[in-house]
């Protein structure tokens, strides 16, 4: 628009379109289209190289059936266990808002959710492996590898997330309900059934579905703790098909199946409503009753156990430090990778946050106009990299780009781009509830006040700042832990910290590996401290 006309338009109405107007919607649609293009290109890369063939014989292979069965079983159990165990912890936190170190605990929860898997696995092995610190307590037949180990790691990663989501659901119980409950002299069981359960119920199913999808697509954990061909998920099978055999028809067949199953599950759960994912606004006044002494003791016990379980795998890394000679340690060798990791995390974090914000504009527009189906479709598309096999994304693009682009030189940009693409769904899910809440309360007010784009952005920013910073921290952490994408596009010149850990461990240098692991974990904790603050907004 020419400047003159723009001025005229501005003076006419005091503003251009609203923030969810057509033009902004177009920007959002463009970003969404680019992200979809990326996925489409990666599939195209694989299909083109494999001449489009699918391996339908696979569908009749008993191995495939057992693989599918195991994928469902472990994902279902992981989700169920995470929720069941998270529930008492969330209750303890809800009923005792003044518990010591509660804020630290909630941060630790976030760290748990984003814990780089290779660090977690090292910690779990130190704790529960055959020579683990806790193993003597577990009896003769204990074996970490297999379904047991996978479940422990998945619960460790997802329980903290569930705790935050359930706590948030409880905090949404209005004060008036508790006043009424007190007035009506409801007993504990009645309160549980009539007040707590309805509040939890709406988030339980979407939460179950989300954790299920994450575990269904699980890769690193299953690869490391699966213990053999008995325990394999589709994503791992895709890796195995590609790695040695370069069997593209088999990989593609598996990829389509995974996309179909995880994708439809995810769509189903989007229809069922949205949980307030990772706890968008957790600061709430609440008048929940303070339980009596016996219940209080139980809650404290649960809380202490949760603390212990979340910290133990981290503490288990410490003895490794004692072995390492920190004086002789090659710090400069580790600082550059640490810096690159941080920069990559920041880049992917800001990129994903910006992309998520733009992608949400058309979604919000559709929600405001009550076009629910359209909104659901757009939401699904903007989170599609969550269900698309990550390996196909990177390997497909690698095949497509390798002959066309000097990947040895520009590969690091692809690492950044793909990491951004993979964490966008998490940013979308973090921002969405907060922004939709803004629209629900204030869209009309903002339009009635004829706020310009900048004024509206300023108001919106102050409303969603907490959610923005928290999701920035979260997606940064997820990107900082990446090894899968780096292993394909990265180069030795740009070694990241997680990759360095692999490098150390791969050359018998286990002590350096544990120092680097702790440094990575420390960096993650630092990022959380900076971005995940208690948010008093709203």
């Amino acid at each position: 628009m020419p400047l003159k006309m723009r001025r005229a338009a501005a003076s006419l109405g005091g503003s251009l379109r609203g923030i969810c107007g057509a033009r902004a919607g177009l920007a959002g649609a463009t970003v969404l289209a680019l992200c979809l293009l990326l996925t489409a290109l990666s599939f195209y890369g694989l299909i083109g190289f494999g001449r489009g063939g699918l391996d339908t014989r696979l569908l009749a292979d008993p191995y495939f059936h057992s693989l599918l069965q195991f994928s469902f079983k472990q994902a279902g159990l992981s989700a169920l266990l995470s929720l069941l165990l998270a529930w008492p912890v969330a209750r303890a936190l809800y009923y005792h808002p003044g518990l010591a170190l509660q804020r630290s605990f909630l941060r630790l929860c976030l760290l748990g959710f984003c814990m780089p898997t290779l660090v977690l696995i090292t910690g779990l092995v130190a704790l529960l492996g055959r020579n683990g610190l806790l193993t003597p307590l577990l009896g003769e037949n204990w074996n970490l590898y297999g379904l047991g180990g996978i479940l422990i790691a998945h619960v460790y990663l997802n329980l903290p997330f569930a705790v935050r989501a359930l706590l948030l659901a409880l905090q949404h119980i209005p004060d008036s309900s508790w006043r009424l409950a007190a007035q009506l002299k409801l007993g504990p069981w009645q309160r549980l059934r009539l007040i707590e359960w309805p509040a939890l119920q709406i988030s339980l199913l979407p939460l179950f579905g989300f954790i299920f999808v994450l575990c269904f697509n699980s890769f690193a954990v299953v690869l490391a703790l699966g213990g053999g061909p008995r325990a394999t998920t589709i994503e791992v099978a895709i890796y195995q098909a590609l790695k040695y055999d370069f069997n593209i028809p088999e990989a593609l067949t598996l990829a389509w199946i995974q996309l179909l199953i995880a994708g439809s599950l995810f769509l189903l759960l989007a229809r069922l409503g949205s949980a307030h994912w990772l706890g968008v606004d957790s600061a709430r006044r609440t008048r929940a009753p303070r339980p009596a002494a016996p219940a209080r003791t139980l809650h404290l016990l649960v809380y202490a156990t949760a603390w212990l379980s979340l910290t133990l795998p981290i503490l288990a890394l410490l003895p490794g430090l004692l072995d390492a000679d920190l004086q002789r340690f090659d710090w400069p060798a580790i600082l550059r990778p640490a810096l690159i990791t941080l920069i990559l995390g920041l880049g992917a974090g800001f990129g994903a946050l910006g992309a998520a914000y733009l992608m949400l504009l058309p979604v919000r527009r559709a929600r405001i106009q009550h076009q629910t189906k359209r909104a659901l479709a757009l939401e699904w598309l903007s989170t599609h990299t969550l269900v698309a096999p990550a390996l196909v994304l990177s390997v497909g693009l690698y095949i497509l780009l390798l002959p066309r682009l000097d990947l040895d030189r520009y590969g690091i940009l692809l690492v950044l781009l793909l990491n951004t693409a993979v964490v966008i769904p998490f940013a979308v899910q973090q921002l969405r509830p907060r922004l939709l809440q803004f629209d629900r309360h204030y869209d009309r007010l903002g339009r009635s006040l004829k706020l310009g784009v900048r004024a509206r952005l300023a108001v919106e920013w102050r409303f969603a700042r907490g959610a923005c910073l928290a999701s920035l921290g979260l997606v940064m952490l997820l990107a900082m832990g990446d090894v899968a994408i780096f292993s394909i596009f990265g180069s030795a010149d740009w070694t990241t910290l997680p990759w360095l850990i692999y490098g150390y461990a791969g050359t018998y240098r286990l002590e350096e590996a544990s120092v680097a692991s702790l440094l990575l974990l420390g960096l993650c904790a630092l990022v959380l401290l900076i971005f995940e603050r208690e948010r008093p907004d709203a």
């Binding site: 191995y63 092995v125 053999g228 008995r230 790695k243 370069f246 880049g347 800001f350 791969g506 050359t507």
Partner: protein, 330 residues
């Protein structure tokens, strides 16, 4: 959202500027990551060769040996390599089938006789025998054959044959010892397998943490512990049936810019100078005799070599993988 955008642009430009500094080299070698790592043979090989060729050598590293082949398959004639380094003998036929490899035309008569090497395209630069490693402070009476190991109840960690070369080696080993009874042997082994890992280091680090009695590795692994750590307790179990070898090879590509330079590099790799570097950095055996090595190498087991030819491996590998996959998941 101006800040993140300009931030990303800045990052992108910075990356471009930095990487543009790297000039194209005279000799480009595709190899695997651990070869070029700070503690691998790469840095020493590079400076030693550059000192005598007056040229610029550049290693381009991918994740592992099979990734080199996969990369060639994707890039086809567009590949940037003059030399590939780090494919093993089991992948030779598939690599040859890409028609991207040129004959080396080198005289290989100086190689160790036990290698029995007559290939006109591929030049071996190191080798090792697959072996099960144990901690002698924990296992007093080690097993003396593959059959004894599989029939025992000792805890074992090995690698997935679909994703790692040692895993693939064990597959060949079991196949050559058991033949048609291999499936039953896999199922028996699965009953006392702690875990099957994706790659070598996952298995080996678990073993070092004390997670198993035996781990599948190389006959040369004990040398590392002696030389680098001064530890003597790790030993390779010698098996009476013989051991399967892994021979790592290099080759010249058809589209090499300077085939003569590429030949000189391969020649250099089997020279006494390079052969003295490789064993103590890659922890494998030298392919020529009379290389001066640390004493630790003298105490290594000297197994009899068994196994299959690359052609046999290429023909049957997929069937054997399927056999393992269903037998071990039972």
């Amino acid at each position: 959202m101006k800040t993140p955008l300009s931030f990303c642009t800045g990052l992108a430009l910075g990356t471009l500027a930095l990487s543009a500094a790297a000039e194209s080299a005279d000799l480009r070698v595709y190899t695997y990551d651990s070869f070029v790592s700070e503690w691998g043979p790469g840095p020493q090989i590079e400076s030693a060769f550059e000192a005598q060729c007056d040229c610029d050598l550049e290693f381009i590293a991918v994740e592992d040996g099979v990734s080199i082949l996969n990369r060639l398959r994707i890039e086809r004639e567009g590949n940037k390599a003059d030399v590939i380094l780090g494919i093993d003998d089991a992948l030779i036929e598939e690599t040859r089938a890409t028609s991207l490899i040129a004959p080396h035309a080198l005289d290989l008569s100086g190689l160790k006789a036990e290698l029995n090497w007559h290939d006109s395209d591929f030049v071996p630069f190191d080798y090792g025998y697959f072996a099960f490693i144990y901690d002698s402070t924990r296992v007093g009476q080690p097993v003396d054959s593959l059959r004894a190991l599989i029939e025992s109840d000792a805890s074992v960690i090995y690698q997935d044959p679909r994703t790692s070369t040692p895993g693939q080696g064990l597959m060949l080993w079991v196949k050559s010892v058991y033949g048609d009874d291999a499936a039953a042997a896999w199922t028996r082994l699965a009953s006392h397998t702690v875990t099957v890992t994706k790659g070598w280091w996952e298995a080996y680090s678990l073993f070092l943490e004390g997670d198993a009695d035996y781990v599948l590795s190389y006959s040369t692994s004990p040398a590392y512990h002696q030389v680098a750590e001064g530890k003597n307790q790790y030993r390779a179990a010698a098996f009476s049936e013989g051991h399967v070898a892994q021979i790592e090879v290099g080759a010249i590509t058809r589209n090499a810019q300077d085939p003569e330079l590429a030949r000189r590099f391969l020649q250099f790799l089997i020279s006494a100078e390079a052969q003295a570097i490789i064993p103590v950095t890659n922890w494998m055996l030298p392919v020529v005799d009379d290389v001066e090595l640390p004493d630790a190498f003298d105490s290594l087991i000297r197994p009899e070599r068994i196994g299959f030819t690359p052609q046999q491996v290429e023909q049957s590998r997929r069937d054997w993988l399927r056999e393992w996959r269903s037998a071990a998941s039972r």
